[in-house]
Amino acid sequence: MYVSVKGGERAIAAAHKLLAEERRGDPEVPELTLPQIEQQLSLAVTRVMSEGALYDPELAALAIKQARGDLVEAIFLLRAYRTTLPRFATSLPIDTGRMDVRRRVSATFKDIPGGQVLGPTFDYTHRLLDFDLAEPKPVAAPDAEESEPQAAQPMPSVAAILGQEGLLEPEEPGDESAPLTDLTREPLSFPAGREARLQALARGDEGFLLSLGYSTQRGYGRNHPFAGEIRMGDVTVEIQPEELPFPIGIGEIEVTECQMVNSFKGSKTKPPQFTRGYGLTFGHGERKAMSMALVDRALRCRELGEEPSSPAQDEEFVLYHCDSLEASGFVQHLKLPHYVDFQSELVMVREMRERAAAARKAEAAE
């Protein structure tokens, strides 16, 4: 039981003032602006939007600034802010097949319709510190070739190509009218449906999912993954306002999608074929999307007739522990005063020691 304490208001106010000064740092150094964070720390913005489960780059940049770059704290701030907003609508499912693709690679097929486009990637960089970045530099004008506008090329998903031969399990829409779990409005319940799992993983902590995904590769619930396709770009979001007889586009969001393809020996009901894990994040979040896809596939073990034996396959373990807000809150609450709790523990330990000493004495006397 946690018993609250009172007092310390003045110290708390002073601590907050000190925090504000530390956040600002040396006043001789120019203050960060939100556009700077949004533009130049865009992958931090991506992570905060994804795990904060709210797409708004400017708000995410503000959260990062306020949190002094502590992304888990920034995610907390964004989650707290969203509780102040009403929900006007639920979008139609976004169509990632019609994405304006700026990066798209497949590790399973080298020749895919629409081609492979590396886009802005850290892959194939040497990971040597670039000291040219240490000082601000004027921006070079873009190449003529680069600025020439291009028509979007159709890029059918790699899953669709494999699916044509029946080698890959299909992903069918199912019953569109069935109610959908929404973890912002209802708690997790088990067994969780795939839609609840995917929502939890989409909001889940990248580090936790990365390690779990990695554990499946090292043998804890092995499922032989291939990165069938990773694509990043912009998709249109459409909503159906209640006062209009048709859906309208409200804008675009950047997303990253990972289609993991996993080999599968077949079961009593399914022929041998490739199975799938799916990852999707707001913004450019490739490591997160891949980790999510690995864990999604691991959590599908029961429906595919695999015996769950590893942490990544344990639905309750994964879903109850993947949220950074809950995990950080519960770990960090240990810092708060527990004086009354601890007093009772202290009394108990003293009594136990006395009893043990008495018992030893009695034994020695016998």
Binding site: A89, S91, I94, Q116, L118, P173, G249, I250
Partner: protein
Amino acid sequence: MDGAVGLGSSEMDLPPEQAARRRWMSVLARASAAELETAVGAVRGALGGLPLYRLIRRPEVGMTMVRARAGGTGQPFNLGEMTITRCALRTEGGQVGTAYVAGRSMRQAELAALIDALLQDPARQPQLLALVVDPLAQAQDLRRRRRIARSAPTRVDFFTVVRGEDRT
């Protein structure tokens, strides 16, 4: 092409007037507040003034849940929310304009709703489509194609190399 004006998935069989409004609302939603200010300035000039209007629903910031599909094509799930702003107004001529736009710009929502109302007057519609909506749609399409074009030089052809010991 549908996608060029900000309509996503659904090709729909709509009566022509609804299809037209769906298109222009989607174009207006993608325009920035600054672009819409410029557009409204042009409309004022062309019509010799703007009609008075009354807000039915003042600009309000909220969210929409963004849904996606497992595997891209499968069962829907809730990915996360995004901020949106809505506004509704009625002009003195009786047209009701509505806007839902991504983000938190109240000005953008109000101007988009105003232009939506003006466009519903059949007498002005062709003129305003040509003056406001078509140029915005073209600018958006160009921006979109420029963005894609920046990735074009990173297109790659991987080839597999037969290893020595495998060669016959």
